[in-house]
Amino acid sequence: MRRHRTPIFHFILRSVKNPATADEILQDAWLRMIQGAREFQRASRFTTWAYTVARNLCIDHARKAVHRRHPSLDQPREEEGATLGDSIAANDAGADRNAIGHQLQRSLVLAIESLPNDQREVFVMREYSNLSFKEIADVVGAPENTVKSRMRYALERLQSSLVEYEDYARTLG
């Protein structure tokens, strides 16, 4: 579980867009995994099962969040495009650690979070959690070809969203 903790947290964070909420959901997912450990079928991989639990919790949270009115800390503000969490916390240490600039980080986050849910979850699980397409198909309950199509659409959207970083990306390649 310790090995999957950060990728699952990132998967949850990209879904709920709030670190505190993501942490709560991560703990909840961990608790449910413990409670349901006896029902866990050895035939399936633990990774697939863990992501399935986390995904279900994210869906539940999204359903409840429909009725909420308060703004999210990660919700972009209209006047400047920065998130409310950025203006409050002003903790850019994580971004400064990266070689790429803070602007690319923010653009990446916005581009990923602007993806449709089905494309975003496939992209995150494939790109950052390193789950195979077959495992992703097991998690989301869709055929593998469907998962690949969603992944392809997600990459095309990201490419168009990050077109301003095309030159920078060439230097990386």
Partner: protein, 399 residues
């Protein structure tokens, strides 16, 4: 390999999900196809940009919690997997009961439950302190603050059959209390029976056990007797002093135990229909019974109407109707008594014989009584009156 197949496998190639042979085929196609190679390069650049996103570390403050949960899970798994068979049943029940208590506690702490509890409390306080008089409080108030009635107002009724109260000599002090504690003297037997029943209940309230019950029964019986005879005077409070003198344990009726009250209700016969309170009502009921053909009720109604002391003119008409009813019922002796008591002063005694209903043929004897006989010839009958119940059958001036 064509471009379509290459595009389908491009994702697998970039994410290393192709076997070596298939990957070699795709790379060979990419080397000779500019479009597919450009698409693959675009895909590679997007992936390179995406890989630059730094993954945020999970919060460290939740790590101990999760580690503790994991440790608990391991212990629980070990216990439940190996030692569950030897866990005492009592311990398992305790755990189950604790869960039940927890659920009850959660239910009790809900907001709706609290609101319902507060509402019930307010209703209870309102019923307790608002000036609301329940029937029980009414009886208690009557006992605690009796209305004093001068003895001169308690005039006996004009009925000749009023018997003196037997309890007057046995319990004079209670006798003095009980009649004065009742409400003003009722005007008829029904009200008297109500008062009598209340006195009986007071007897139960005052008596602790069979004595009180007996007093209540006696009071009930006396009330019924009074109601039947139309009494309204002092005989109605006979039993209450007796019961009060037997066992003075309870102070008011609110202290009657539930069992005794239930026994009293079971021991008492159901209350009969209220008797008419006035002579006119009694006569109306008798006439309605006559129209129904209920001869016994007709006779009883006329007798009660006579007992309620009607005016002389009405008394004559009622007596005449009663006489006819008795003759029709074949109760010649009672008919003769009615005749002797109420109708002997008629100016023309023979007129009475002429008013015997023709539906039941009678013959008149020398003594004025009537007896069933063979039908009289029509030519010998007197002239038929139009209204059989009318008092015009007799000379009113005689009364």
């Amino acid at each position: 390999m064509d471009c379509e197949t290459c595009n389908d496998l491009l994702l697998d190639l970039h994410y290393d999900e192709l076997d070596a042979a298939r990957a070699a085929e795709v790379r060979a196609h990419l080397a000779g196809c500019d479009d597919c190679r450009a698409a693959s390069e675009r895909l590679g650049r997007t992936r390179a940009l995406s890989a630059k996103l730094s993954l945020p570390d999970a919060p460290t403050h939740s790590a101990p919690v999760m580690a503790a949960l994991a440790a608990t899970s391991q212990v629980a798994t070990a216990v439940t997997g190996r030692v569950s068979a030897v866990i005492p049943i009592e311990r398992a029940r305790e755990v189950k009961a604790a869960g039940w208590l927890q659920r009850v506690g959660e239910l009790a702490m809900r907001r709706q439950v609290a609101m319902v509890a507060i509402s019930l409390l307010m209703v209870g306080l309102g019923l307790r302190y608002l000036p609301f008089r329940s029937p029980t409080q009414s009886v208690t108030t009557e006992m605690s603050q009796p209305e004093v009635i001068p003895a001169t107002e308690l005039t006996p009724p004009p009925t000749p059959s009023a018997a003196p109260p037997p309890a007057q000599s046995t319990a004079p002090s209670m006798r003095a209390r009980a009649p004065l504690a009742r409400s003003p003297a009722p005007a008829d037997g029904r009200a008297s029976s109500r008062t009598q029943l209340a006195d009986g209940l007071r007897g139960v309230a005052a008596g602790n056990g069979p004595g009180g019950l007996a007093g209540a029964r006696a009071g009930r019986a006396a009330a019924l007797d009074n109601a039947d005879l139309g009494r309204s005077g002092e005989a109605e409070t006979v039993a209450a002093p007796v019961a009060a003198a037997q066992a003075p344990s309870y102070n008011n009726i609110a202290q009657i135990p539930g069992d005794e009250e239930r026994q009293l209700q079971q021991a008492m016969p159901p209350a009969p229909a209220p008797a008419p309170s006035t002579w006119s009502a009694a006569r109306n009921s008798a006439e309605s019974a006559s129209s129904r053909g209920d001869l016994a009720a007709t006779i009883a109604g006329y007798q009660r109407a006579l007992a309620l002391d009607p005016p002389p003119a009405e008394r004559h008409a009622i007596a005449l109707s009663l006489h006819r009813a008795l003759v029709s019922a074949g109760r010649a002796d009672e008919a003769n008594r009615v005749r002797a008591q109420y109708l002997t002063q008629a100016a023309d005694p023979s007129a009475l014989a002429g008013q015997v209903p023709t539906s039941v043929p009678r013959t008149q004897t020398s003594a004025g009584s009537v007896q069933p006989s063979a039908p009289r010839p029509a030519s010998t009958r007197p002239a038929r009156r139009s209204n059989a119940n009318s008092n015009s059958d007799f000379n009113q001036s005689a009364y």
